[in-house]
């Protein structure tokens, strides 16, 4: 059978063999948990606790500010030891609430389980908001916003993203294997909220065990399991929708414009915990992997755990890393050090050696068109990057720079090692700045 997919894309080595077979382990609590108030797209939360105050596990320590914002919670019971700026995965120092664990790991008594059968869609959305659930594929967009489309945008097709197309990462894969019930509960809840006619779980074909398990569990239910061709970026929202429905999200639009919503499988599990157990998003699965770490693992981590704790739990380093990446190698963010905490969007910690990251010198474009063939948005990366790097903003915009999803396929394939997606990013920022100023 020919597997569904999208046009374009690349085939990097998936490098998942390091950790795909490793069962999820609990990461021990660190000496302090650093919980940034901004872990999501939107307004940062505002602290609602004081230094010295005792908090219980799951207690709100930062309140949401506005609609596109989510609260943050204490990942364990303990004492607030500081509220100050700390190094943040986004590359700067940002306000964080620091929790010193008391070792009891005692849940807050305010959190109560609920019977989902008795909840209205609005109740569910409110519980998701209170629990601080964000998209867990990496973008960390507040989930309750995505659950509240305008009434005229009916979500007919609901897609769950179990693709995990980033090389190295196996967090979603392990969660699908070890906790499928939590995911499927979340799937059922979202189907109820949206009233969708079609519900799909998309899984890349390099996870046959997960596909088999979900096909078995979904047999006789309305949920459809669709295996997808192994290709990057199969898990990108627009490409996943194209593969599943054959339709394209219009340029500049959102999936809801064509009646589709996409949620990560981990997000579905977090929504289940939020609604059924009443528990906020204070932990997630994170793959710690790469050639520079001694023992790659899939860890269940508390939000706010410093990266140093993750590395120690995985047997330390084999050699001095050349790059510390949060997320996958294609779209992750390079870090300055190990004191940065893992946050809600942290799907992986990738440690590359010096040899893995040595930069190839850039050469002239030989117009080989590999970037054009690789681009999943069907734009001309080499042309846009060339315009952007010469500050020809209008030309870059005319060549559809804003349609770039920054997947990095162009830079990956370029034989001349031209920083194509980096150039396009720069161009996009310039286009937005120009729009703001006019």
């Amino acid at each position: 059978m020919k597997l569904r997919t999208f046009a374009g894309g690349i085939h990097p080595p998936d490098s998942k063999q390091w950790s795909a077979h490793k069962a999820i382990e609990d990461c021990p609590l660190p000496a302090e948990l650093i919980v940034p108030l901004a872990q999501h797209i939107g307004a940062p939360a505002v602290p609602c606790v004081e230094v010295g105050q005792c908090v219980a596990k799951g207690q709100e320590i930062g309140t949401a500010k506005g609609f596109v914002s989510v609260p943050v919670h204490a990942p364990t019971s303990g004492v607030i030891s500081a509220i100050e700026n700390r190094p943040h995965p986004w590359g700067t120092s940002l306000p964080a609430v620091v929790v010193k664990p008391d070792g009891e790991d005692r849940w807050s008594s305010d959190l109560r389980p609920a019977d989902p059968g008795e909840l209205s869609p609005e109740d569910i959305i409110e519980k998701v908001r209170q629990a601080g659930v964000v998209g867990m594929g990496g973008a960390a967009f507040p989930a309750h916003v995505k659950l509240s489309p305008p009434p005229e945008k009916k979500i007919r097709t609901l897609i769950f993203n179990g693709v995990e197309c980033e090389p190295y990462l196996t967090a979603d894969h392990r969660l699908m294997l070890e906790d499928p019930e939590r995911i499927l509960q979340g799937v059922a809840l979202l189907q109820y909220v949206f009233g969708s006619e079609r519900v799909v779980v998309g899984i890349e074909a390099n996870k046959p065990d997960a596909i088999e398990l979900f096909e078995k569990l979904c047999d006789g239910t309305p949920v459809e399991v669709i295996p997808l061709q192994v290709k990057y970026p199969q898990g990108a929202e627009k490409q996943l929708i194209a593969a599943v429905t054959g339709r394209e999200v219009p340029s500049g639009g959102l999936p809801m414009d064509i009646g589709v919503a996409v949620h990560n499988v981990s997000t579905a599990a977090a929504i289940n915990d939020a609604v059924v157990l009443g528990r906020p998003l204070i932990e997630r699965i994170c793959t710690v992997t790469g050639p520079a770490v001694r023992e790659p693992k899939n860890l269940r981590i508390r939000i706010g755990t410093p990266l140093s704790q993750l590395v120690d739990t995985c047997g330390g380093l084999v050699e001095t890393p050349g790059k510390i990446v949060l997320g996958g190698p294609m779209m992750g963010f390079a870090q300055l050090g190990f004191e940065v905490p893992a946050i809600r969007g942290t799907s992986g910690l990738l440690l590359l050696r010096q040899d893995d990251v040595t930069l190839q010198p850039e050469g002239p474009c030989i117009r080989c068109a590999r970037c054009v063939q690789a681009c999943p948005m069907h734009i001309l990366p080499t042309t846009i990057a060339a315009y952007a790097r010469r500050d020809m903003v209008a030309e870059a915009a005319e060549y559809c720079a804003m349609d770039c999803i920054e997947c990095g396929s162009c830079s990956y394939v370029c034989p001349a090692a031209i920083p194509l997606v980096q150039g396009i990013r720069y161009g996009k920022a310039a286009i937005l700045a120009k729009k703001r100023n006019s």
Partner: protein, 332 residues
């Protein structure tokens, strides 16, 4: 927890690379030309080897001199100048005198490539620029062909005309195909006919092209649309007037079509980047080739056709962009 080194890279994503490089691509193209060079040497002997060596060394030397003069880093290690040299040699007659070959390599690199800014900046295929300049400037030397004298056959190279030349002369003089042009397809396919070094053996060229397909350096679009157009269009003329026009197989296997379609018209630098653009480029090359061969002054039109389409490439790239994912109706 060991301390973090001060050597951390902080570049933005992606953090991995395919490992492909310009030099690797160029090396693969050079490897793919080995069969064609081998056949040329087999059929035409030492003179062919001399043309290959002079052209390649001439291109490398010219690139070095140009870049030295412009105080730029010398980039002959990237292999692109060597490819130009080999391709130029394959586009020359085996009897081409040493000074002609050398002049060709100087024109290819200096006029065809470096004046525009070097690798990636030249609008026209450098080897073809040289071939055409030589053809127009030295028509006698550039159209003195010799019959093959396979190694060990004891034959000497004897001056003769190419099959296309024979046909063109006959048609001009008598208005119909010459008697001698019945059959011979297998010889044409293997390369046992007069012609440029690299024009003779379709088999050897296809072997090399197959390797490039396998390495994904060549895509099917240009060769297929180029050759397909030639076959269709020449077939049309052949069906209308078979006593005057040669068959598509003759068009396909004699002259520079296979070399042109797989190696010259697929030069990345001088051809469109989009799929639709490549298809249009190939069709344009095919139409021009047939028109020049059948109605032009020269028996062979592949080089002119490709150069003309090279000139159209920026226009094609501008107007035949791929349709952007999710583009609204009527927009790219």
């Amino acid at each position: 927890m060991s301390p973090v080194s001060q050597q951390l890279y902080l570049s933005s994503s992606p953090h991995i690379h395919s490992g492909e490089s310009t030099a690797r691509v160029m090396r693969a193209v050079l490897y793919s030309l080995i069969p064609a060079c081998g056949v040329a040497i087999y059929f035409f002997g030492i003179p062919a080897l001399a043309v290959l060596l002079i052209a390649t060394l001439g291109c490398l030397a010219t690139e070095t001199v140009c870049q030295r003069l412009m105080r730029q880093p010398v980039t002959i290690a990237d292999g692109s100048a060597a490819i130009t040299g080999v391709l130029l040699a394959l586009n020359l007659p085996p009897t081409s005198p040493w000074w002609l070959t050398l002049l060709g390599s100087v024109i290819a690199i200096a006029v065809g490539k470096q004046v525009y800014g070097g690798l990636g900046a030249n609008p026209f295929n450098p080897a073809l620029v040289a071939r055409v300049v030589l053809l127009i400037s030295f028509p006698v030397q550039m159209t003195t062909w010799s019959a093959p004298a396979p190694l060990g056959s004891g034959l000497d190279l004897v001056t003769t005309a190419t099959p296309l030349g024979v046909w063109k002369n006959a048609v001009m003089l008598t208005g119909h195909l010459p008697e001698s042009m019945q059959g011979g397809t297998i010889d044409y396919f293997l390369g046992n006919m007069p012609g440029c070094l690299g024009e003779v053996s379709a088999l050897a060229l296809l072997l090399g092209a197959a390797y490039l397909f396998y390495r994904r350096i060549l895509t099917w679009h240009i060769p297929t649309s180029f050759i397909g157009t030639v076959v269709l269009l020449s077939g049309l003329f052949w069906l209308i007037s078979p006593e005057k026009y040669p068959s598509p197989a003759f068009h396909l296997l004699t002259g520079g079509l296979v070399l042109g379609a797989f190696y010259m018209a697929t030069d990345m630098v001088t051809t469109p980047v989009s799929t639709r653009g490549m298809l249009l480029f190939g069709v344009g090359c095919g139409v021009l080739t047939v028109l020049i061969r059948l109605f032009g002054g020269y028996p062979e039109g592949v080089s002119f056709a490709i150069l003309l389409m090279n000139g159209a490439t920026p226009l094609i790239d501008r107007y035949l962009r791929p349709r952007t994912f999710g583009a609204l109706a009527g927009k790219v």
